[in-house]
Amino acid sequence: MKLTTTAYPDRLEIKAEGRLDAAWAEHFLEATRRAVREGHHQLRLDASGLEYLSSAGIRSLLQTHREAAAVQGSFKIIRAADFIVQTLRMSGFDSLLALDEGAVATDNPAPKAPAKHAKAGGWTAPGMDVEIHPLGGASAPLRAANLGRWQTWSRVNLAACRELELGAERTALGIGTPGQGDDLAAHLGDFLSVGGCTAYLPGDGSEAPDYLVGTGQFVPKLRVADALHATGPFSHVVRFQPDDSGSALNIEQLLDAAFATTGARSVAAVILAEIDGLVGMAWAKSPGLIAADSKPAEFPAVREWLSFSGERVHGGDLALVVAFATTEALPQGVSIPALPSRKDWRVHAHAAVFPFRPLPNGPIEMAPTVQQLFAGAAPQALLHLVEDDRPALGLGHSAFIRGACWCAPIQFTSEELS
């Protein structure tokens, strides 16, 4: 079987020539999956060159239909020969046929749907194609705060760990655990929370994160040694993908989009995107166990405490990132590390990794999208993102391919809000 794809402004046509049978069904499905992954959610099968359609072939058509529908897309068969029409009718799947569409004269193919450049100010979105959608929320800055205020590498004062409610309106990241008492000391680790969904990696050698999802009356809570959080609706969603160069995007580019879109100097960003690879760290051992007179940050002792990704990891998966970023002076008590590649930026970002699934196009909403994500699969990894800018050996940045970046202007307060 031979597959040829042509992109039109409103759809992607896949022309199949030859036999669509058990031997080719998987190949066909792979092609349509790739198309959906690349953002083509309106798919048409040009069946004019199809010589044979078996039950396995029909199954692959139905599966494509299902997967396109899952991202609010569509899949139809056009220009089908009579025998294809008959086959589909007999098996009761003629709803896949779009008999009228194929008759319409074809318009000129456009290799790629032009991105809507509703860009802010003089910002040109270097390296990426973006679509910016306001979300209708208030555009006044959300109040953001630092709770817990643990100084990294100092002994954790367990009594000073605070309870943080992680409801649907809250966006947060930091170091915490659901436990109390001794449990608290032994299990502190990185977490992030969006839309009432919290993923945390216990710092007890666990490989996979655990998670808490708020439902109805249940609001997840963590005890935190240190956390950044902001509460309220986000103002925009930026849909992004690489420009024609095809180079994956780094977090600096996405935060640049967040700064430009909100016009603010401090932002909260939630990124949900297919990733090319992440570079990050995780607590291998709970910082709650740091002894008062120890030097945990010295090499090689630090290897007991932190685990390094060692390479760019999780390429092809989906990452949910929470980031707080600022270009202005922070109030007393709030601390965010400087970004090595851009010393005037301060950024703190955590990422949770999920198996890939395509996202619908357009202005998708943050909380429902993240809730669906957690309902569909458990997070597989959780990382504190870092940049590895070592000359020659460095792993560089985490890299993102295609997805959504929700953003909100924020204003940090020196108060320890909980």
Partner: protein, 270 residues
């Protein structure tokens, strides 16, 4: 049954080729325990088995087996307590001799030689019985030269010979690695059967995570001449191949986390 204390072995000490193959191994293996040793290439698995078998004497440390301090025993003396199977199915048997002859040779090791190979009916029946337990149909081929058998059949026989006299300790070094997947699985199952039936204490080096998860009572992971993971009891019961892969990943990442990484990432933890 086996007690290893602070065992070290350095090859080519004081030269540029120095390899610290064992860096202070402590290991207690209970009577009847079947343990797998996994680990990256060059982590010291074979060296540990060799140290126990007496291929060389350790630099420091002590070895105790079945109540004897064997640290200074030469290899042939330890062979009275230890059975071994190696990776190569062609090692440990004589190709031109028959199955029966090989077995008689192997089972008389350490005992005075009898009167040649004139086998009594009783011995022959006993050999046939034991070989029947392999379920490979070899009991009818006792006179065939062992060289005419497949690798899997030979490795099964080697295993049978190594355990014939119920050694205090059975050492298996990747004994299925050179076999095709089907024979490897067959020999793995056979290993479990024999070790269980004879209640043997055994150490098995393997690169197969599947074998490590399916066969032994305990899983030991080595890295750079150290034991870095030891799954026993409850932890052993719930371990899956994924967990072992993660553990490998962890030790590999730890190696990559050098001082230059520390310098780069620590400032990003303000």
């Amino acid at each position: 049954m086996l007690k290893i204390r602070s065992l070290t072995k350095t090859f080519f000490p004081g030269t540029p080729n120095e390899v610290r193959a064992l860096r202070g191994i402590d290991l207690d293996l209970a009577d009847g325990c079947f343990a797998a040793i996994i680990g990256t290439n060059g982590s010291g698995k074979s060296t540990l088995l060799n140290a126990v078998a007496g291929t060389f004497l350790p630099d420091t440390g002590t070895l105790e087996l079945d109540g004897h301090t064997i640290t200074d025993w030469p290899e042939h003396r330890r062979a009275t307590l230890v059975g071994r199977v190696f990776q190569n199915p062609f090692a440990g048997t004589a190709a031109e001799m028959s199955i029966a002859e090989n077995i008689v040779l192997a089972t008389r090791r350490g005992q005075p030689r009898g009167l040649g190979f004139a086998l009594s009916h009783k011995t022959r029946d006993e050999i046939a019985d034991r070989i029947r337990s392999l379920k490979m149909g070899l009991e009818d081929r006792l006179e065939n030269p062992i060289g005419t058998l497949s690798g899997g059949q030979r490795q099964a026989l080697t295993l049978l010979m190594a355990t014939w006299l119920r050694p205090k300790l059975l050492l298996l070094d990747e004994h299925t690695a050179a076999l095709d997947p089907k024979s490897a699985a067959q020999v793995a199952v056979l290993t479990k059967e024999i070790v269980t039936r004879e209640k043997l204490t055994a150490l098995m080096v393997t690169h197969s995570m599947q074998q490590a998860v399916q066969l032994p009572d305990r899983i030991i992971m080595m890295h750079h001449g150290n034991i870095v993971e030891d799954y026993s009891g409850e932890r052993r019961a719930r371990v899956r191949t994924d967990d072992l892969m993660h553990a490998f990943d962890r030790v590999r990442r730890r190696d990559l986390f050098d001082s230059t990484v520390a310098e780069t990432v620590l400032p990003q933890y303000a």
